[in-house]
């Protein structure tokens, strides 16, 4: 991976050059860094034409009291949330960013938790007894350069006289604890202001005090519906750094587990989306089929939702003797059920009426917002990491990356069911060919220490590109871990597609993007 290091003054010019001259139009992630003597950020960029190419742009500032960097949110739309996150964790303020509120923590939180000198004494930040006041949520500070002068100002998130409705944090159809503040004009949505952080668990900070095998358990709980894939990403990242040769058998089994998880996740996503449109039956059907996968997981790994199966170097234990038989039984069952699901819901004229023609996300917008995964592919953006940089056993199988040009809610709905079919195809090709020799795990040292350096690995989870960035200083614990959440950018996509639709469709639009809130908040 190419790395470009620039000073903070050159940052914006270099970013502009990469964006417009070399067409790096997809900002994968911004990783905030505390180097000890300086604070900085790493920008991972990729061009949508050549998605396998990734460049890391690094910058830093030595001013720890008032750290400031130039914002790149005029070049990539997704930068606006990433920069807010960097500000929240490291206190780096971004000049020319229109919204410099904290993103996860409350505005009255003292200190910046991911800095190395952060004082985690619970007496400084006790458990609050009162909710954050709406006035505080709405006050938006920003720093801009106007006519060569630096202006610090605050403005309101909503204009005076806007009719604002709160959805969440406790809302039955919000799929978690997301808080959406929606301004309405009659029934039509004008603007959405998402408030995150109601399930911010500080996983990235905790990782810094845990050893690498311990971190794996936290990744399962990020996006619990694709826990296996998240765990796979960290394993791959560590294996790449350690240069461990993982046995083929482990690669095959990991791939089958990943695809089974994807099916389970899509079934739940499909069921919940249908439930949001009023079909409880579809939800119960989806959960019923999902239980079959849970059974397969349980037999081999002992866990249902969190199989905790992949480890650095291979697998925790070998598969159960029944594994192949059960998987082979599951494939025809699922094919039959998929037909039923289509019959039950896809053809329903009421459901079609609600899904067709609304929530258009164009390909350019999806790339600019970084809406990866099925939601991006429904807009015709080729971004499947399984095809782009095949890992594990994906290079050995034939499958199709489902792309749809439409970008509408219906495309995002149908693409998940189509992906289930592709996942079945992958499993079908692998399940009979699991190599018997080589063992299920490579030998690793008892204490795993990664060599010094930055490591980055992406995998395709059920919601999009999940990325892991690890900075190691050669210790048994990492210096910095950052997870690229595919869901954070999906909420950005919701913010873009929801205006001008009816408020009654908001929940369904959110369900079609299928985000998982703990993955956003981490």
């Amino acid at each position: 991976m190419e790395t470009i290091t620039v000073s903070k003054e050159q940052l914006h010019d270099e970013a502009r050059r990469l964006r417009y001259e070399e067409s790096y139009n997809f900002l994968i992630d911004i990783v905030g860094m505390d180097y000890g003597d300086s604070l900085g950020a790493i920008y991972y960029l990729s061009p949508s034409q050549k998605p396998e190419q990734v460049v890391a742009l690094k910058t830093s500032t030595t001013n720890r009291e008032q750290p400031e960097l130039f914002s790149v949110c005029d070049l990539w739309d997704s930068a606006s949330v990433y920069e807010r996150e960097v500000y929240d964790f490291f206190g780096i303020r971004f000049v020319n960013h229109p919204d410099m509120r904290r993103i996860f923590l409350r505005h009255d939180w003292k200190g910046f938790p991911l800095r190395k000198d952060y004082d985690a004494d619970p007496a400084i930040n006790p458990v609050p007894l009162e909710s954050e006041r709406i006035e505080d949520m709405e006050r938006v500070p920003s720093i801009t350069i106007k006519m060569g002068e630096r202006v610090e100002e605050t403005h309101q998130a909503f204009a005076d006289g806007d009719y604002v409705v709160n959805f969440g944090p406790q809302h039955p159809a919000m799929h978690g604890v997301l808080h959406l503040r929606v301004s309405l004009d009659g029934e039509v949505i004008k603007k959405i202001d998402p408030v995150f952080g109601y399930i911010h668990r500080g996983i990235e900070k905790m990782c810094e005090s845990y050893t690498y095998p311990q971190i794996l358990h936290l990744t399962d709980r990020l996006d619990y519906l694709s826990g296996t894939m998240n765990r796979h990403a960290v394993c791959l990242c560590c294996e790449k750094a350690l240069e461990v040769e993982v046995p083929e058998r482990a690669h095959y089994i990991r791939t089958i587990f990943d695809e089974l998880t994807r099916i389970a996740s899509h079934l739940l996503g499909w069921g919940c989306m249908c439930m949001d449109m009023g079909s409880i039956t579809a939800f119960v059907y989806g959960m019923r089929d999902r239980e079959k996968i849970m059974d397969i997981f349980e037999e081999s790994s002992g866990g249902r939702l969190m199989p905790a199966y992949a480890t650095i170097g291979g697998l925790a234990q070998d598969i159960h003797p029944n594994f192949q038989k059960k998987v082979k039984e599951f494939i025809p069952y699922m094919r039959k059920m998929l037909k039923e699901h289509h019959l039950l819901f896809t053809g329903n004229p009421i459901a079609r009426g609600r899904m067709e023609g609304i929530g258009h996300l164009s390909r350019e917008k999806a790339i600019a917002l970084g809406a990866t995964g099925p939601s991006g592919r429904a807009s015709g953006w080729h971004n499947d990491i399984r095809k782009v940089e095949p890992y594990a056993a994906y290079a050995k199988v034939n499958f199709e990356e489902v792309l749809r040009p439409g970008g509408l809610t219906f495309d995002r709905y149908i693409i998940r069911l189509d992906e289930i079919e592709q996942s079945l195809r992958i499993i079908e090709q692998l399940v009979d060919n699991i190599p018997a020799e080589g063992g299920y795990a490579a030998k690793t040292k008892a204490v795993i220490k990664l060599p010094e350096g930055d490591f980055f690995q992406r995998v395709e989870n059920a919601r999009g590109q999940f990325g892991v960035h690890i900075t190691s200083r050669g210790d048994k614990t990492p210096y910095r871990v950052k997870f690229r959440s595919p869901c954070l950018t999906l909420v950005g996509a919701l913010k873009a597609i929801a205006p001008d639709t009816k408020v009654a469709d908001l929940i369904m639009l959110g369900a079609s993007l299928d985000y998982v809130i703990p993955c956003i908040d981490r």
């Binding site: 996860f104 923590l105 409350r106 938790p113 952060y118 985690a120 930040n125 458990v127 609050p128 007894l129 009162e130 909710s131 954050e132 944090p169 406790q170 039955p172 978690g176 604890v177 952080g197 109601y198 399930i199 911010h200 668990r201 500080g202 996983i203 900070k205 905790m206 005090s209 358990h217 936290l218 709980r221 619990y224 519906l225 739940l268 939800f283 119960v284 059907y285 959960m287 019923r288 999902r290 239980e291 849970m294 249902r304 939702l305 969190m306 809130i517 703990p518």
Partner: protein
């Protein structure tokens, strides 16, 4: 049923002043062909209450998925009369705290609990809700919901299996059955005044 079988947890048989009169009355009625059944209205109410507990739809993270599984096809909790999940805390009897509660969420959970009508129950599902679980070391996680609201049943697991959740539900049903319905308002008052933390891990 004999009058003797009356079982009141906080009132012994000997404590009834007029057993003889009651027993005689029942005997006489039965002799004349009246099918009479003697019991306590409190038991009757609790039988009904324990078999129609309405949970609030509330989940913050992973355990919420297992909670959905409990409600879905295989371990269907409708068999126990719990299936009416309510979206408003004002209509709910029990709140399942499924998942981690963080600093920002704590006041929201407290408010949800306060909005529920008495008698109300709390179930802490999963290690996070019990003591912070895998996130105990985090700067932003509440170390157990019993620091904020009183908890009736703790269900350990990360996440607990649906069967475990079902078992926990039955424990709550048992608890409801032995409560004295008419003394609940006093109990609620005592609960509000008593110090929180009943969790041995957090003590």
């Amino acid at each position: 049923m004999e009058v003797k079988n009356i079982r009141i947890p906080n009132m012994q048989y000997e404590d009834f002043k007029d057993n003889e009169y009651l027993e005689g009355y029942v005997r006489e009625l039965r002799k004349n062909g009246v099918n009479i059944f003697v019991g306590k209205i409190s038991d009757f109410i609790n039988w009904g209450r324990s078999n129609s507990v309405w949970p609030l739809t509330f989940a913050t993270s992973c355990c919420g998925i297992e909670f959905m599984c409990v409600g879905a096809a295989r371990t269907d909790f409708a068999r126990f009369g719990w299936e009416v999940t309510r979206n408003s805390p004002r209509q709910a009897d029990v709140i399942f705290v499924c998942g981690t509660i963080v600093h920002k969420m704590a006041p929201v959970l407290k408010r949800l609990y306060d909005q529920m009508a008495e008698p109300r129950y709390v179930m802490a599902i999963g290690s996070c809700a019990i003591c912070g679980g895998p996130f105990k070391k985090s700067y932003h996680v509440v170390q157990g919901v019993d620091k904020i609201i009183p908890v009736d049943v703790f269900i350990p697991g990360c996440p607990p299996r649906p069967d475990a959740v079902l078992y926990g539900m039955m424990q709550l049903a048992r608890k409801i059955k032995v409560q004295n319905f008419f003394k609940l308002p006093d109990e609620a008052k005592g609960k509000a005044e008593a110090p929180l933390t009943t969790n041995p891990i957090n003590r």
